[in-house]
């Protein structure tokens, strides 16, 4: 089982949850990131996610492995979507199992925070008027290149 993977197909949380089952675990926590229909007061029609696969797999596996050691998890796994996603689809799934619940909550939050902030995955929002924007890139692009 890959600790971290990318998928261009819809994620099935029921199937994914079974991959972190462990008889020694007393708790399981998962997080599903969903595609919402708005962002910063603007209606969103759909999203596209683009990833740098080789670095995502290296760094994503490192994040989940570090979480396993840091929070003494029994099992953990994370999957991120790529491609075109409709409103309501699951963009990212994280699941962890551990002996006690607090470590499971903490580890799940730690993993999703690291994934969002570190992995080379980009989100493009498409709006009902036909325009689109790379999220988090637009504000930076309004400034000139530093010498």
């Amino acid at each position: 089982m890959d600790l971290f993977s990318l998928s261009d197909l819809a994620l099935d949380p029921c199937s994914l949850s079974k991959t972190v089952c462990d008889r020694a675990a007393g708790g399981y926590v998962s997080f599903e990131g969903w595609v919402r229909d708005h962002h910063e007061n603007r209606a969103v029609d759909h999203l596209e996610y683009e990833a740098y696969p080789a670095l995502c797999l290296n760094a994503g596996t490192g994040i989940v492995q570090e979480a396993i050691e840091r929070y003494r998890l029994r099992r953990a796994r994370a999957v991120h979507r790529t491609g075109t996603l409709a409103i309501g689809e699951i963009a990212v799934w994280v699941g962890v199992s551990t002996d006690h619940r607090q470590e499971a909550f903490d580890a799940c939050e730690w993993i999703i925070d690291r994934i969002k902030h570190e992995l080379p995955i980009w989100k493009k929002e498409f709006y009902p008027d036909g325009t689109s924007v790379w999220v988090r890139c637009q504000a930076c692009a309004n400034h000139p290149v530093a010498a």
């Binding site: 990833a51 963009a91 890139c137 692009a141 290149v145 010498a147």
Partner: protein, 79 residues
Amino acid sequence: MTIELHWFSILREQRGKDREIVEFEGGSAGDLYRRLAILHAFALPVPSLRVAVNDAFAEWHTPLSDGDRVVYIAPVGGG
């Protein structure tokens, strides 16, 4: 030396291609980006970017070697 560049997201769109081989006289990953930014009028400033060399995060001052694969990483937005 030659450097293999891979482009993703907003930089891929601005460059108009997803990969290319470029000649480089030598220097750091930052030196190469500054040269490319002027050449292609990239709007993203260095402080907003990260760089990867051979599929691992690297520092801007990392010296490049012949045949290296370099990716400039625009602000990410996963999740």
